[in-house]
Every structure is written in structure tokens, then in C-alpha cells.
């Protein structure tokens, strides 16, 4: 490696870039200038750096497309005019739009399907006749008073079989009686009232909770 002055050519060439911009430190400039005074190859290198800077500086500034400034102002204007609420709204629209159509379609199809199905069931007597009540977790009224099973009656009170509808409250007490079949006479009515109103029943339950209910009781005259 050739050594001239107190720096080598490689070091001198590293300093040239800053030197041509007058950004080298004073001592670096001094060393470089001393080196250049005696080194012809490095002088040519310096010339080429200056040439490079010269042709780069002579590049004509690129003019943008004449619509670019206008387009930029329009985009800026749109961005600036959008309030906070508008931005959230547009964000929601952008997020929801892709799912809105499928979701609405699914809802409409579901409603239509159930409408058709419901229509077929609701207006088809054959299907309706197959319906049975669903009694899940329900218990009917039960008789706890054994005297009701063999209530004494005179021949004038209970001549023919009698069906009675009794309303039983949550405490197992009868609060309404209606004779639904059999001969209804004052004597029969008095007899059934005296028999049922004081009676105690186990109330009906739904999901384990006592509820008001209606029960049907049948009486027949049994001669002993």
C-alpha cells in the first residue's frame, strides 16, 4: 500500500466525500490536501467525486403529474372532513357490510321455512289430532282424605252417577264446584258441597311447586 504524507490512499478516499461537501474536520482536510499534493491517482479520484456530485446536482427535478396535487388535496379533504363519528360509522359499515347480506338472507330464509312449516301444522286437522299435551314434571290433584272414597249418601241425594268438576287451590282446598253430568238437584248440590268444600286434597304441582288446578271426580251410588 502506497503511503504518502501521513495517510494512506484508502483513508484519503474515505475522506473525499465529506471533503467535497466542506464537512471534513480541519485536521482531516489538512491531511487529505497534503496527500493530494503528492498523489496523482487520488487527485483523479477526487475529480471523479466532484464530477459525480456535479452530474447528480444537474438532474432536473421531476415534475409530478399535474393532477397529483389536486388528487392529494381531494384525499386530504376527505380525510379531514370525516368526523370522529363518521369514521366510526364508516368503520362499522366496512366491517358489517360483508356479513349483512348473508345474515339478512339467513334470517329471511329461516322465517320463511318456519312459516311454511307452521302453516302446514296449524291448518292440518289430521296432524292436530295427533297432538298430545306434554306433561313433564307435573303432578295432578290427589285425594288424601280416605272418607271421600266412600262418602255416605241417602237415596235422595245420589240416585244416579255424578261427575263433578272441582277447582283446587294451592293449599288443596276446593274453591269451586261444577256438576258436569248427572242429575243436579238441590239435595245433590247440598250433598256435594258439604262433601267437597271441607275436604283436603294434595294440590297439583308443576315442577314441584303447588298450583291451582281442576280435577274431575266421579261418584256412583253403591248399595251395601
Amino acid at each position: 500500500m502506497k503511503v504518502v504524507s501521513n495517510i494512506k490512499c484508502s483513508k484519503a478516499q474515505k475522506l473525499m466525500s465529506a471533503y467535497i461537501d466542506s464537512m471534513a474536520e480541519p485536521e482531516e482536510s489538512f491531511c487529505l490536501e497534503s496527500h493530494l499534493a503528492t498523489c496523482e491517482p487520488c487527485r483523479r479520484q477526487l475529480q471523479s467525486y466532484i464530477s459525480l456530485r456535479s452530474i447528480m446536482a444537474r438532474i432536473e427535478p421531476m415534475r409530478p403529474h399535474e393532477d397529483l396535487a389536486l388528487d392529494t388535496r381531494v384525499r386530504l379533504s376527505h380525510a379531514r372532513s370525516g368526523s370522529w363519528f363518521d369514521r366510526i360509522e364508516s368503520l362499522l359499515i366496512n366491517v358489517l357490510k360483508p356479513v349483512a347480506f348473508p345474515a339478512v338472507s339467513a334470517i329471511v330464509l329461516t322465517v320463511l321455512s318456519f312459516s311454511v312449516l307452521f302453516g302446514q301444522v296449524a291448518f292440518n286437522p289430521r296432524l292436530q289430532s295427533l297432538d298430545t299435551p306434554i306433561l313433564i314434571m307435573e303432578e295432578p290433584v290427589r285425594i288424601t282424605n280416605q272418607t271421600l272414597l266412600s262418602a255416605p249418601a241417602t237415596s235422595g241425594e245420589l240416585i244416579e252417577p255424578l261427575s263433578v268438576q272441582a277447582n283446587v287451590d294451592v293449599e288443596g282446598r276446593v274453591y269451586g264446584i261444577k256438576i258436569i253430568s248427572g242429575r243436579e238437584t238441590p239435595a245433590v248440590t247440598r250433598w256435594i258441597n258439604n262433601l267437597l268444600y271441607p275436604a283436603q286434597f294434595a294440590p297439583a304441582t308443576r315442577l314441584g311447586k303447588p298450583v291451582n288446578s281442576t280435577t274431575i271426580l266421579a261418584f256412583v251410588n253403591v248399595r251395601s
Binding site: 473525499m16 452530474i55 447528480m56 438532474i59 432536473e60 409530478p64
Partner: protein
């Protein structure tokens, strides 16, 4: 003489050095004033486009970058603290956006190409060396030289390319480059030296015919 006035940032309660005109202008931008944004675009549109074009080598890409850069300036102007000049801050955003685009293209292995037919933004002028009365032969040589410069820039890394463009084409000072790129002046010197050495190798043919 540079006028430097204390710009008192009310939100942060700190006084920072910012050119008086810049400070007033920044307040207008932060107040979302229409005229201020028009002035911002008018002031920086051409220079940012030039930098973007030189770094990206494609007019359409450079135009997209310019629009995105101004949108980022708008979105971030509220956080501008005035610890650099507005020009430096705008170019910092610009170079960052351009480097991001370069990295994006690099990840997709895009080859940097320069077309002799590129009309460079539709103005039909192409790249040209300043010349008061070019003959057809000189114009052709100038265009060829410009193409060589653009190709040489394309061979540099993004960091080196940005330094060469800012210094040798846009004429930024070392301090301004340091502020824009967020690196020390010493790093600017060393990177510029390496970038120029690479450019010199690529353009040696054209440098030999220069009369200095």
C-alpha cells in the same frame, strides 16, 4: 439570517425552537385549516414527489407514495412537537413511507427497472439534465446518463439511496439528513461516502467525460 422563535407548546408546556413562520403554519395545520393544507401540498408536493420518484424509480408508485405521505402528515400533525423544522418532519415521514414501500417490494423480489419510455408522471418530459439548448445528440446522451444514474440509485440499499437523493439531488445539509433519518452526522458522512463510492463505480463511464 434564520429567524428562530420559541414556539410554546401549550399542551406539553415546553418551549421549543421552531421557525416563527413554521410555528404559525403548524398551528393552522393543527387547527385543520383548509388553506393551510392547500399550502402544505403546494409547498412540498413537487419535492416529495421528486425524492419518491428517485428512490422508487416509478412514477405511479411515487404518486401513490406522495398521497400517503400527506395523509400521514395530516394524521400525525397533532403530535408534531416542533423539535425539528416542519420540512424535516415532513421528509422524515416521507422517507419512512418510501423505505417501507421499498422493503415491501424487496420482499416480493421485484426487480428495479427503468424504462426509457417512462413518461415520468405523464408530463412527457422524461428525465433530463439541465441544459439550455440541447442538440438531439446531447439530449439523447443526457437521457442515457439520467437512466444510468437512476439505475445506479436502484442498485444502492434503501438507506444509502435515501442519503444520496437527499444530499446530492435535493441538496439537504448533513444536519437535515441527520434529522430526517434519525442518525448522527457521523453516520451520515460514512454512509454517504460508501454510497458515493458505489455510485462512482456504476457511473465511471460518465464521470470520465465530465469536464470539471
Amino acid at each position: 439570517m434564520r429567524r428562530e422563535l420559541a414556539y410554546y407548546d401549550l399542551e406539553r408546556g415546553v418551549a421549543t425552537l421552531l421557525d416563527g413562520q413554521d410555528a404559525a403554519f403548524v398551528r393552522r395545520l393543527q387547527a385543520n385549516e383548509d388553506a393551510a393544507y392547500d399550502e402544505l401540498v403546494r409547498t412540498y408536493n413537487a419535492s416529495i414527489y421528486h425524492v419518491a420518484y428517485r428512490m422508487l424509480g416509478n412514477s405511479a408508485e411515487a404518486s401513490d407514495a406522495v398521497q400517503d405521505i400527506f395523509l400521514k402528515v395530516f394524521r400525525n400533525i397533532a403530535s408534531f412537537r416542533g423539535d425539528a423544522s416542519l420540512k424535516t418532519w415532513v421528509f422524515r415521514i416521507g422517507i419512512s413511507e418510501i423505505l417501507n414501500r421499498l422493503r415491501w417490494w424487496k420482499r416480493r423480489h421485484r426487480m428495479s427497472t427503468v424504462s426509457m419510455d417512462d413518461d415520468h408522471g405523464g408530463n412527457g418530459s422524461g428525465i433530463c439534465i439541465r441544459d439550455s439548448s440541447p442538440s438531439p445528440q446531447q439530449a439523447l446522451e443526457s437521457k442515457e446518463q439520467e437512466m444510468a444514474i437512476q439505475q445506479a440509485l436502484g442498485r444502492l440499499s434503501g438507506d444509502h439511496r435515501s442519503i444520496v437523493v437527499l444530499r446530492d439531488i435535493e441538496g439537504f445539509s448533513y444536519t437535515e439528513i441527520s434529522d430526517v433519518l434519525g442518525i448522527s452526522v457521523g453516520t451520515v458522512k460514512s454512509r454517504l461516502a460508501r454510497a458515493r463510492a458505489d455510485m462512482k463505480k456504476s457511473l465511471i463511464r460518465y464521470l470520465s467525460i465530465q469536464r470539471v
